[in-house]
């Protein structure tokens, strides 16, 4: 097993376990930390792909910024109430079975394929730095989606402002 492969599985496991922890743990702070772990795993995968810029953004923005904000919110909100609630509905077994079945379905279909993935696409070697390449793609080929995402964010902002606005009651 080459180093790359080892790290791929390691980071993947980190991401998956973090995800599971987010769902399964009872304490909200623990959940947030588990989510961070998961995001970290994903960041590691970016790094393996040679996407240093994305790796940095993931760490700085998600883990550094957003998750810390999450933690603040969690600490400000009274969580005693939440921890007393039943964590899972009674449909958990069914959901579990269905989810496992879905996984099984995906795997069974995978196993039927002669080739798992098409022959690996040879990556064009990057000219210039990683950041520059990302920027180039983002502002030429994907300019339109990039701009449109700003509308998406605008809508989300309007929505959160409205939701947080003063109630008339």
């Amino acid at each position: 097993m080459s180093g790359d492969t080892f790290f791929f599985y390691a980071f993947s496991a980190l991401a998956l376990l973090g995800g599971l922890g987010t769902v399964l743990l009872r304490n909200a702070v623990h959940c947030a930390l588990a989510l961070m772990t998961s995001l970290l795993g994903v960041a590691g995968l970016y790094l393996l792909q040679g996407a240093e810029f994305l790796f940095a953004v993931q760490i700085v923005l998600y883990i550094g910024g957003i998750m810390v904000l999450f933690l603040f919110v969690i600490m400000l909100v009274n969580l005693d109430q939440a921890s007393k609630l039943q964590q899972f509905g009674r449909q958990t077994p069914i959901a579990l079975v269905v989810a496992l079945a879905a996984v099984a379905a995906i795997f069974s279909m995978l196993s039927k394929s002669a080739v798992l993935l098409p022959a690996s696409v040879s990556l064009t070697p990057l000219t210039g730095g990683n950041t520059e390449t990302v920027a180039n793609v983002l502002f030429t080929d994907y300019l339109l989606p990039f701009e449109l995402v700003s509308i998406l964010l605008l809508v989300a902002v309007v929505g959160s402002v409205m939701m947080a606005g003063k109630r008339t009651e």
Binding site: L85, Q91, I94, A95, K112
Partner: protein, 617 residues
């Protein structure tokens, strides 16, 4: 151009004027608009026909291309041939008379303008149905008359039975429409067009082996539509209930015109049916069975309108029989004569009911002959006509059908003859119960006003001479060639004798020895009760179809799909109550999780589907 479009447009304008402004109009204005518009279209029919005479060819007016999709072109076209002409005259002629009558009959009813607006709208759709040059346009009229029928049946909406009857009619008709729509689709597939002339032209050229299978299917599906509209077994159940509507409606829609649309449609599609012998047989069998069954029910009913309602079902069965044995023109002939005498019977019954202050039970009538002599006279003529007494109108058309039936299979003729006897019996039973003997009710019967009995008189004349004067089969021979059925004097005599025997029997039972009916009823109580309860068909439908659908949709699909199997697991019972109090509980009870589980299962199913249909590769 002869501006055929004006024919249906007049009543439409009448509908719009009365419907939108009628509330503010006086009755005189409403009458003028409603009756005037129908009379105008009657006059326009006459004008168009005189200009088009002798009408040996089909005359088509194309207005615009209605829908064009791929190779399929459907035009907004009207067409007139001799068949259409007969129907047009019946619809506008009888329609005018009934409109006049209704101004008298409805004079003291609420919702006066609404009634006439609906009635005019009905005329519009009925004329569209008759004039249509393709199946889609015919279907438009078909649905439209169904809608108006529904609105008019439920006219006395304060009576629950009336609005229920309206619903029943609409829903039962939807079953028929379903067959009709399928037939249209099959016609498109088989012939690539829905235009009458083109379809029939193609149908008459194709080779028998290739297409006869699909033509049979088409005809059977068309038949399903016709069964719904013309109240044949097994979809006849709505028509007797439809008598909840005002009497002019029963006369116009549920006796003279709309219910014969099914017969018209089959006659119109004669070219197709002639190439589908199996479908023809089915038409004949259904017609015969309906004729017998409805006649037996009619024998024992006490509500005067119910008797005539079952009589209508039975006579429609005759028309189907005529079409089914290949005598389409005889069927149409019976449509015409039936329109005369059955409209007369209903309007006369209306006049009787009017005179008895709304009473419909014949057991509370009697002895009305002297009190309402005109009504008695016209009803008597109508009864003679339907009983097939020569030389009244019913005699000719019924004979033509029975002759054709004999040519097809003698047993059909004999069943038809027996039914004719029963017909004569129950009609005269109603006459004797109503007009003879002593008056058994409490009201003070009085003769109807002239606006009511003048139309009756006109119809009476038509019932008298309508069969002799209008030889419809001969007139229709360019469109619908008459097959078989050579006139046989002895057979005709037997049929006439059966009618006379029925009258005689009725006279014995209800005039001379009034104890017989009661004795028979108690001697054969089970049979009597079964007939009186109409073979329990309504109850049967209720138990076998209506209830299961209602319960199934509530128990399985609503509660199942909506409240969910999972919800039940979570809460022990469904809680979709939107009461605010239940809201939090609902959200915490894991409803969302339930939904999410559903989505998850759905994903599994979808992926499974893809796997099954493609994963093997």
């Amino acid at each position: 151009m002869h501006s055929l479009w004006l024919i249906p447009i007049f009543p439409l304008v009448g509908f719009l004027i009365n419907g939108m402004l009628g509330r503010r109009f006086s009755k005189t204005v409403i009458n003028t608009v409603a009756v005037g518009s129908v009379v105008l279209s009657f006059l326009w029919v006459l004008k168009a026909l005189s200009a088009l005479a002798p009408l040996n060819e089909t005359y088509v007016e194309h207005y615009f291309t209605w829908i064009s999709s791929g190779t399929l072109d459907i035009g907004f076209d009207f067409a007139i041939d001799r068949l259409t002409m007969v129907m047009l005259l019946v619809v506008t002629g009888i329609g005018s008379l009934i409109h006049v009558y209704a101004t008298g009959y409805m004079a003291h009813e609420g919702g006066y303008y609404r009634f006439f607006a609906y009635l005019n709208l009905f005329m519009f759709f009925m004329l569209t149905l008759v004039l249509a040059a393709n199946y889609v346009l015919l279907f438009v009229g078909w649905e439209g008359v169904g809608l108006c029928s529904y609105l008019l049946i439920g006219f006395y909406f304060l009576k629950k039975s009336a609005s229920d009857a309206g619903k029943k009619a609409f829903i039962v008709n939807r079953i028929g429409d379903f067959g009709f729509s399928l037939a249209m689709f099959l016609i498109v597939i088989s012939f690539g067009t829905l235009d009458f002339q083109k379809v029939f032209a193609k149908a008459s050229t194709i080779s028998p082996e290739v297409q006869y299978g699909s033509i049979t299917t088409i005809c059977l599906l068309l038949l399903v539509g016709a069964i719904g509209k013309s109240a044949q077994i097994p979809l006849y159940v709505w028509l007797p209930d439809a008598m909840e509507g005002p009497t002019p409606v029963s006369a116009l829609i549920h006796a003279a015109t709309m219910v014969t649309a099914g017969v018209y449609m089959i006659a119109r599609s004669a070219t197709l049916f002639e190439r589908a012998p199996i479908a023809m047989d089915v038409v004949a069998y259904i017609g015969l069975a309906t004729a017998v069954m409805a006649a037996t029910i009619g024998l024992v009913q006490n509500d005067i309108k119910k008797v005539y309602a079952y009589s209508t079902v039975s006579q429609l069965g005759y028309m189907f029989l005529g079409c089914g044995v290949g005598a389409f023109s005889a069927g149409i002939w019976h449509v015409v004569t039936h329109a005369f005498f059955k409209a007369l019977l209903f309007l006369g019954a209306g006049s009787v009911i009017h005179a008895c202050a709304g009473e419909q039970d014949m057991q509370k009538m009697g002895g009305l002959m002297k009190k309402i002599p005109i009504t008695f006279a016209v009803l008597f003529i109508a009864a003679m006509a339907i009983a097939g007494v020569p030389p009244l109108s019913g005699h000719y058309s019924k004979d033509a059908i029975l002759m054709a039936a004999h040519a097809r299979a003698p047993w059909m003729y004999w069943v038809g003859v027996v039914t004719a006897g029963m017909t004569a019996f129950y009609v005269f039973r109603s006459i004797f119960l109503t007009f003879f003997g002593e008056y058994r009710g409490k009201a003070h019967p009085h003769e109807s006003p002239a606006v009511m009995w003048v139309p009756l008189a006109v119809l009476a004349v038509l019932s008298l001479i309508g069969g002799y004067a209008f030889n419809i089969p001969e007139f229709l021979s360019p469109v619908l060639p008459m097959h078989g059925g050579v006139h046989d004097e002895s057979l005709a005599t037997i049929a006439t004798a059966a009618g006379l025997a029925g009258i005689l029997l009725a006279a014995i039972c209800y005039l001379f020895v009034p104890s017989i009916p009661g004795a028979l009823a108690s001697a054969f109580a089970p049979i009597y009760q079964t007939l009186y309860d109409k073979y329990y068909v309504d109850e049967l439908y209720n138990v076998s179809i209506v209830k299961p659908i209602a319960n199934g949709s509530r128990e399985i699909l609503w509660k199942g799909a909506d409240v969910g199997v999972f919800d039940a697991l979570v809460n022990g019972a469904g809680t979709t109550s939107m009461a605010l109090g239940g809201l939090l509980r609902k959200m915490q009870s894991g409803n969302l999780r339930t939904y999410a589980s559903w989505v998850l299962i759905g994903i599994l199913l979808v992926m499974g589907g893809f796997a099954v249909y493609g994963g093997a590769k």
